[in-house]
């Protein structure tokens, strides 16, 4: 076998270094084990999910306002952790629903009096996917799924590359105009980890939104999911969302 030239040698050495590094990183990960969580809250004991009862939503926009207040979300256009859409479906053309969401429903909706169209409100928020595309595409590990199933953003680590904004099939992410980093619904992680409900759930006047813990066998969410025909958005994307919609019309995307 002839001696490798300098170029081949350097290439091979480089590959070996990279492989060694990956193996070391993987070994670190294997040896790390489970560290202690924040005191008083055992994240591994929960698996949070959201249930939205579309038939109860009245489009008042309280959730949108409460979310922005609670989480200090920018009031700039297109910065929403949750928003409400109004669907108008013409029975003659059910495949092309007219969807409006003026300022995300922040100020409610202009009254609609059209007869003959099927119309309803659909609240949207991060689906907290169990297999979240946004987590997969993040090149620096700035977005991640917590042990209790919430997809969060590490704003100190985020580069603002926007890959996750593009990857989310639900359009649930935006770039914070102040920090220029990705932002999204945290399911009010600061609230649920202290035993409170998320702000949108707390504020919803009709109980259209509810938080459930799929790991708690006594949580009423199990009964609800058993006895209702719930849907998730875009199931064909195989993201396994944990935001379940009751009474969802087939036209909703």
């Amino acid at each position: 076998m002839p001696a490798p030239d300098r170029r081949t040698f350097l290439l091979q050495t480089g590959k070996l270094l990279v492989l060694t590094a990956s193996a070391a990183a993987a070994w670190d990960y294997v040896m790390a084990g489970e560290p202690d969580q924040a005191p008083g809250y055992d994240a591994a004991a929960h698996w949070w999910a959201m249930v939205i009862d579309v038939e109860r939503c009245i489009g008042c926009g309280l959730c949108v306002r409460a979310c922005k207040t609670e989480n200090h979300v920018s009031l700039e256009p297109d910065c929403f952790r949750t928003w409400v859409e109004r669907y108008e479906i013409d029975p003659d053309d059910p495949d092309h629903p007219h969807v409006t969401s003026p300022n995300g429903g922040y100020d409610g909706f202009p009254p609609l009096t059209k007869d003959g169209v099927k119309t309803f409100f659909v609240p949207k928020l991060c689906n907290q996917c169990a297999d979240a595309p946004c987590v997969q595409v993040c090149p620096v590990g700035a977005t991640f799924q917590t042990p209790d199933g919430v997809v969060l953003v590490d704003k100190d680590y985020c580069l603002g590359c926007r890959y996750c904004v593009q990857a989310c099939p639900y359009g649930c992410r935006y770039i914070d105009p102040e920090t220029h980093t990705a932002d999204k619904c945290t399911l009010c992680y600061h609230r649920i980890s202290r035993g409170l409900k998320p702000a949108c759930v707390e504020i919803c006047p009709t109980g259209a939104r509810s938080l459930g813990d799929l790991k708690d066998p006594n949580d009423p969410i199990h009964e609800f999911l058993r006895t209702h025909k719930v849907h998730v958005l875009k199931p064909q994307m195989a993201t396994h969302p944990k935001t379940f919609y009751n009474g969802l019309d087939g036209a909703v995307r």
Binding site: Y41, G108, V153, D156, H190, R191, E202
Partner: protein, 150 residues
């Protein structure tokens, strides 16, 4: 054996390896945060940072601690599902220190937030054309939001 009599180049290579690995380890130690990878492929402290945000909405359980009379009355009527802060606004500051006054909501605007007619609203929700129904009268003149008529 004559072929292996010169090994100087191998030593140079070995040195190159050692320097490379040391450089990698050093850079990794410098650049990767200490808590990265403790739970998963992310900084463990990002969890605590997300938990550390301050609370703006106190929640109806906090309201009940002092205002149990209103809260109890609300559990049995048509506004049972309505949270206190749905109408009264964010009150964590008031719940933490009762000296911070809670703002009294403007009845008409607050009621209109839900009860203006809209074809998209579920039929179970009572809606009314405010101008026809009451003119310029305040809702509070006839209706009690804590005890709405069935």
């Amino acid at each position: 054996m004559a072929r292996f009599s010169s090994y100087e180049h191998l030593l140079r290579l070995a040195a190159l390896f050692v320097v490379g690995i040391a450089l990698f380890a050093g850079l990794r130690w410098l650049l990767v945060p200490a808590d990265y990878g403790l739970i998963g492929p992310y900084r463990a402290s990002a969890l605590t940072q997300n938990q550390a945000h301050s609370i703006v909405y106190a929640g109806r359980l906090a309201c009940r601690e002092c205002h149990s009379d209103v809260a109890d009355a609300l559990t049995t009527n048509a506004h049972a599902s309505v949270g206190c802060e749905s109408c009264h606004g964010a009150l964590a500051a008031h719940a933490g220190d009762p000296g911070v006054a809670a703002v009294r909501p403007d009845p008409r605007a607050t009621c209109a937030g839900c009860h203006v007619p809209d074809a998209a609203k579920p039929a179970a929700l009572k809606t009314v054309n405010f101008a026809e129904h009451a003119g310029a009268e305040s809702c509070g003149s006839c209706h009690q939001p804590h005890a709405p008529r069935p």
